[in-house]
């Protein structure tokens, strides 16, 4: 079944090269479903161009993760001081795991991505709601073994379980793999590195732009002075690229991810999904109005639940909204009578400002169906990443890196966004404004 490499043109990165094995993974129904899950839910109601899918983003993350891996790998290979050594075989296998993990990290997203996660069922082991990562791991483990473990091109014997362990990180990863995990989830990970540029591109805003090529070219392996651990840092010459990344994160958070109208639509999407799931399943999965869980009493049940989950895509939900069968929140989306923001704090409220918000403003609005949204609740958070390490030497594993915030007054000055807003139903907007007048 040996085929040849193919290239596919992906916005932002241009040509992305795919091995025959990766082509088979991409052709799998679990991955193909991502064509029908939009990256930014109903952000298109604010930015009409933001209609891109998780499919495109996942290809982009694989590309960026590979670029980052290939920049760091020679630094590990040429260092003779490391204990344990990163052998050639370790690095070959790690590269395959990083690429496949990057490609598959989002396969567990429900319709409208993060906006639908509020109606995921509770994980009985944690007592908290499942996350899309739980679905991703379960789908890879139970539904994709044929294109991973059983693929003829899998010469390094990479297993679906290893990819799940890498993504979920239960603590059993050896250092040779754990070292690479920040490429998937960390302060400069490939996920964020891709989605900032991609979301910015499709939304038609310039806020998410930064110099990704410079960022990748200046990645360095460093050894933390306090704890002597190997970490992924940046050369001094990359400081401006990282500052650009952090500013992009800040701007995109304010202007896109935490946009007041977009957040109102997130809430309506949650309402629509809860309604549709309750109609479809009743209380079959325990709590009413939740997705099938990513697990089961036995593997067969888990697979049945996951098959059921895979049937949920954006077009299916849109069809219900168009048919007026998506409940009251569906009507609000269709009519664009979404909830309205009527009051908000500054981006960085002081304690007196918060007291005023909760003790004076909010009580006036509660009776009108007012509710609070806060920056902390957003799935996309601004994280200023002040602790990224900056190398202080020119070559080799840097033994004395310093935190970015010590080298960047810009990063030092940025604060976490903790803004709060009050929304009321569309019909109560004017009444709420009158109530808030002094």
């Amino acid at each position: 079944m040996a085929g040849s490499d193919k290239i596919v043109r992906v916005p932002i990165h241009g040509f992305v090269k795919l091995s025959p094995w990766e082509q088979d993974v991409i052709d799998h129904r679990v991955f193909q479903r991502l064509r029908h899950v939009r990256q930014l839910a109903l952000t298109e109601m604010v930015y009409p161009g933001a209609c891109h899918s998780r499919f495109e983003h996942s290809l982009g993350v694989m590309q960026v993760a590979s670029m980052m891996f290939d920049q760091l790998r020679p630094q590990l290979e040429t260092s003779g001081q490391l204990e344990p050594r990163f052998s050639k075989d370790d690095l070959e296998k790690a590269r395959v795991i990083v690429r496949l993990s990057a490609l598959l990290h989002d396969v567990g997203h429900c319709p409208f991505s993060h906006a639908g996660e509020d109606v995921m069922p509770t994980n009985p082991l944690r007592g908290k709601k499942h996350k899309h990562e739980d679905y991703s791991a379960a789908l890879i483990r139970h539904c994709m073994g044929d294109v991973i473990d059983g693929h003829p091109a899998n010469e390094l014997k990479v297993s679906a379980d290893e990819i799940c362990t890498f993504l979920q990180n239960d603590g059993s990863l050896p250092l040779q793999l754990l070292f690479w995990r920040p490429l998937i989830t960390g302060q400069m990970d490939a996920d964020r590195a891709d989605y900032l540029l991609r979301d910015s591109h499709h939304a038609g805003v310039a806020y998410g732009q930064y110099d990704i090529n410079r960022l990748v070219a200046t990645l360095r392996v460093v050894r933390d002075r306090e704890t002597e651990n190997l970490m992924i840092g940046i050369e001094t010459g990359g400081i401006q690229a990282v500052e650009g990344l952090i500013l992009a994160r800040y701007m995109m958070f304010i202007q896109v991810y935490f946009h007041h109208t977009r957040r109102a639509y997130d809430r309506h999407v949650t309402g629509v999904l809860g309604h549709l799931l309750a109609q479809e399943y009743g209380d079959r999965y325990g709590a009413r109005g939740t997705f099938p869980p990513p697990s089961g009493d036995e593997v067969r049940t888990a697979v049945q639940n996951l098959d059921e989950f895979l049937r949920w895509t954006d077009p299916r939900v849109w069809q219900a909204i168009e048919n007026d069968s998506a409940g009251p929140h569906g009507v609000l989306i269709k009519s664009r009578h979404h909830d309205r923001r009527v009051h908000e704090t500054s981006h960085f409220p002081s304690t007196p400002e918060l007291d005023h918000f909760y003790e004076v403003a909010l009580p006036k609005l509660r009776t009108m169906g007012g509710y609070v949204d806060k920056a902390d609740n957003s799935w996309y958070k601004f994280d200023k990443s002040a602790d990224i390490r900056v190398a202080t030497s020119d070559r080799g594993i840097d033994p004395a890196p310093v935190p970015l915030s010590e080298r960047s007054s810009l990063v030092r000055a940025l604060e976490e966004v903790t803004q709060r807003r009050v929304y009321v139903p569309w019909a109560s907007k004017e009444k709420a404004k009158r109530a808030l007048r002094p």
Partner: protein, 196 residues
């Protein structure tokens, strides 16, 4: 499943009070609290003392880390509850009380009596530990859920922390066991009452 700490659903004052309390206690006892140490202290409080502040920790090469702890520390600083300085000689941060540290402790004070005993023990046991020592111990506690057999646990820790010898890991493991940290990490959840 741990017992969730009672919390204002709108503002996590209890989390901010916890951070402010650590900073205040270390300062009052003339000890240095760094960012790494704060992360590991809160991890141990959650895992080994079973007080759940809803912080989700992930294991990195530098031990258990939670981005929300880092974020909350920045928020506490923004509120004036902490001052953060970099010590170039040590290569780490130093957290000191800010002008609003006591206001933040007061706002979340309902929770402090319930955790006071645990904080006393935690600070007495590990307040003077280095970041490196704390990181090893918190990694052992993190991985204890994987395997409680002592030889297997040492091997598991060495996989992640090859710069520690087996003897160093075993000594730290034994110390945690003797002090009750490993045993408590697998105990049933406790019931909490607070002043709120």
């Amino acid at each position: 499943m741990l017992d969730p700490m009672p919390s204002n659903p709108e503002i996590p004052w209890e989390r901010y009070a916890l951070i402010a309390e650590f900073i205040r206690r270390f300062d009052a006892q003339g000890m240095t609290l760094g960012k790494t140490a704060l992360q590991k202290m809160i991890f141990l409080l959650q895992r080994a003392f079973r007080f759940d502040f809803d912080y989700g920790f992930t294991l990195y090469t530098y031990g258990p880390f939670c981005v929300d702890v880092a974020r909350d520390l920045d928020i506490v600083r923004g509120f004036g509850g902490a001052e953060i300085a970099y010590d170039a000689n040590r290569g780490g941060y130093e957290l000191r009380p800010g002008p609003a540290v006591d206001e933040l402790r007061t706002r979340g004070s309902g929770i402090l009596p319930a955790i006071s005993g645990a904080l006393d023990q935690l600070v007495a046991d590990y307040g003077r530990a280095t970041a490196k020592e704390l990181e090893l111990r918190s990694t052992i506690v993190f991985l204890a859920r994987q395997d409680q057999n002592k030889e297997a646990l040492v091997k598991l820790v060495r996989q992640v922390k090859p710069h520690f010898s087996d003897a160093q890991i075993e000594a730290a493991r034994r110390e945690l066991e003797e002090r009750g940290y490993l045993g408590r990490a697998i105990e049933a959840p406790r019931t909490l009452t607070t002043g709120n």
